[in-house]
Amino acid sequence: MGRNANAKSAESHLTTPTRLTGAEIVWATLVGEGVTTVFGYPGGAILPVYDALRKFPIHHVLVRHEQGAAHMADGYSRASGKVGVAMATSGPGATNLVTGIATAMLDSIPMVCITGNVSSKVLGTDAFQEVDITGITLPVTKHNFLVNKTEDIAHAIRYAFQIAVSGRPGPVLVDITKDAQQGTAIFDFEAAKPRAYRPHPMLHVDESGLKHAAELIKNAKRPVILAGHGISESGAMEQVRTLAERAQIPVALTLLGLGSFPASHALNMGMMGMHGESWVNTAIQEADLLIACGMRFDDRVTGTPSTYALKAKKIHIEVDPAEVNKNVKVDVGLIGDLREVLEELLPRIAGRDGSAWLKTIESSKGAVSVHDIKNLPDSGHLYAAHVMHDLWRITGGDAIVATDVGQHQMWEAQYFHHETPRSLVTSGGLGTMGFALPAAIGAKMACPDKEVWVIAGDGGFQMTAAELSTIVQEKLKINIAIINNGYLGMVRQWQEFFYESNYESTPLVSPDFVKLADAHGIAGRAVTTRAEVAEAVNEARKAPGAFLLNFMVEKEDSVYPMIPAGNALHEMIRRPGKNPLVESADDE
C-alpha cells in the first residue's frame, strides 16, 4: 500500500469508528494527534506496533540507542514546538530512554514516549526484558500510564499529548503491554478525547497582583527583565519585547531563554548567571526590580540565593505555581500562561524613561569586553571562541545550533548570538552530555529547510557518536563541529580552579573524529588554526551531505567569567588580564 493510500485509510479511521488491533490504534492515534515522525528502536515487546507501522503514514527514524530516540524527540520538539515522540521496547529499551526523558523534564519539553511491556499475565513476575518503567520514570515524567487493555490505548495516548503540552509542558510515558497491542477494540478517535483540563485553584492572575506589578514597574529606577525558556514555550516573544521597549527595561536571558529576545536588540544585555557577562550579573545585583518571565531562578543563574539581588523587588510571572517562591522569595507572583499574563499587564504599563539606568549598565561594559578573545589579534592559537564567532558570522546566526554540555556550550552561549526562538537546542536543566548529536537529528527532521549545526565537545560527542549512522541512514545534512581540547574541559576547569589543578580522570583520548566520520560515510576535516576556521565552516556548509569539523582548540582554556559555586552573583572570576597564550592582552 502506498503512502497516499495509507494516509487515506488512516484518515478514515479518525472519522469512522473501526475495529483495530491495539498496535494499529497506537499509530492511528498518533496520526490523529498530527504526528508524522517517530524516533525509536524495535524489540520483542513492541513488535506488534512495529508490524502495524506499514499501514500508517508515519516516518520512523531508527536510532542506534534509545537514549538517542528520546533526545531526538526532544530536539524535534525544541526546534518546532510540536510534541516529539520516542518509542522503545520493554526492559533495557525502556530504561535507555530515561536520561532523555529526564532531560526533557528538567527543561519542560513536551514529549510522548511509548514503550512496550510484557503481557499483562506476566506483569510483575520478572519476565524476560520486563522492567517497571512507569515506576522508574515516576520522578522524571510529568505523568505516565501503564495500559494493559486494548480499549484504553487511544485514550491514554490522547491524554498523554494533552498533559505534555498543557500548563508547564513536559514528557509523558505510555507503557503498553504486548497483549494490549495484540488485542482488538473499536477505535473511536473522538470518543477517546480526554476530559477538559481541570482548572488549577492556584492558577489565577488576580487584579491586585497585576496592579501591584504595574505599580512596581512604574516606580522602578533600575529594573531588569529576566527572560527564560517560558517565553518561547508560551510564544510570548512579542509581549516581552513590548514590555521591554515600552518601559525601557534591559533584558537578561537564561541559557534556555537565548533567542527568545533578539541578541541584536539594544535592550538585550545577554546571558546571566554562572557564565554570564559580569555587567549582566552586576546589573541584576544592583537592580531595584526584577521581572522574571518564564524562568525558575535555577541555582546556575542566582549564585547563592541568600545573596541574590537583595536590593530588588521581584515580580515572577510563571505557569507553574510550585515554582513561585521556591528558590527566591518574590513580592508579586503572577501565576498563569506568560503570554496571557503579559497581555493583561501590558495595558497598565506606560512609557518610561530608563536612560539613566541603561547608561550605567553601558558604562560598566567597557573594561570587560576588550578581553573578548575574538577581539585579540591572531596569535596562531585556536580558541573555541574563534570557532563560535566565525560560525555565528558565517551563518549569519540563521541556523539551529544543538550543543552538548560543557565548556563549548557556554562559549556557544556567549559568542553565537541567537536572534530567534528555538534556534538554540541545548540541555540546560539536566546538563546531559551526549545530547547534541541526537537532538540535532530531531531538529533537522522537524525543520528540514533550516541549517543545523551540532556543537559538541570531544567528551560528550563520544557518548552518542553512534547516531552518526542515523544521520547517514536518514540522509540528513547536518554539520558537526567538535570542540576538541583533549579534556573533559569543564571538569578540568573546575579541577584547575577548585582542586589545585589535579586533573584526575579528565585527560581524554579520542578517536580520530574525521576518520570516525569517514567510517560512517560522512566527510570531514580537522582544523588547527584560526585562519582555517572560516574556510572550513564554508566547506562544511557547501558539502552536499553531513560534514564533521574537528576543531583542535587550546587544551587548557577556561570559560570566563565564572561564578564559583557558593559565591554571590557579582563575585565572579573575571577574564584574566594577561593570558600567557595570547599576545597583547591588556589588564582588565
Binding site: 515506576g135 510529568k142 482548572p199 488549577h200 505555581p321 521556591k326
Partner: protein
Amino acid sequence: MLHTFVAYVEDLPGVLTRVASLFRRLNINISSLTVGRSEREGLSRLTLVCEASEVAGHRIRASLFKLENIVDVDDIAKAPNVTRELALIKVAATPRNRAQIFDLVEVFRARIVDLTSESLMIEMTGVESKIEGLIEVLREDDGRILEICRSGKMTMRRGHHTSSVLKAMGKAPDESSLQEDVTEDAAEANADVEPA
C-alpha cells in the same frame, strides 16, 4: 509548622506511590497518611499530615496538584476543622485486673470490642492527644499493652464547606443529599461532640 493536606485522588494503581514519592524527594517525613473512599465514586479522600515550613507547605500543595491523578488539594491545618483518629489497643488482662481497665475505658469514652481470658481489645476514636492519654495510662502498668494499631488522622473542615474545584468540575457533592436543616452553626455545634 504542621500541615494537613486533604486531597481527592483518583482510584488508580500507583497514585499513593506518586504522592509518597513527592515527599520522599523533598526529604519530608509523612507523619500521618489516611486514605479511604470519598462521597464520589472513583475518587478517594486522602488526609496527609507533615511538618514543613509555610513556604514549603505552599509548594507541596502546588506540587501535589501537579500530579495528574489528584483532583483537588487543600491545606486545612489552619482552618477550623474536626480531626479524629481511630486506635485499637490490645491489652493483657486477667479476670483480676479487668475491672480496673473497664473503668479506665469508661473514663476515656472508649469501648471494649474483644475479650478473652488473658487479653482484651479497646477501640477508641478521638483526637490524637486523647488517644495518647489512654495509652499513657495503660502503660503505667508495665507490659500491659500487647499491640497498638492506629489509623492516622482524618480531618474535615467544619461547616458547610466543599471544594470549589470539585464544584467547578461538576463533581461537587450532590446538594440534595445534604440535610437541609443542618445549618452551618448547627453543624459547627455538632462538630466537636466526641463520639461515644
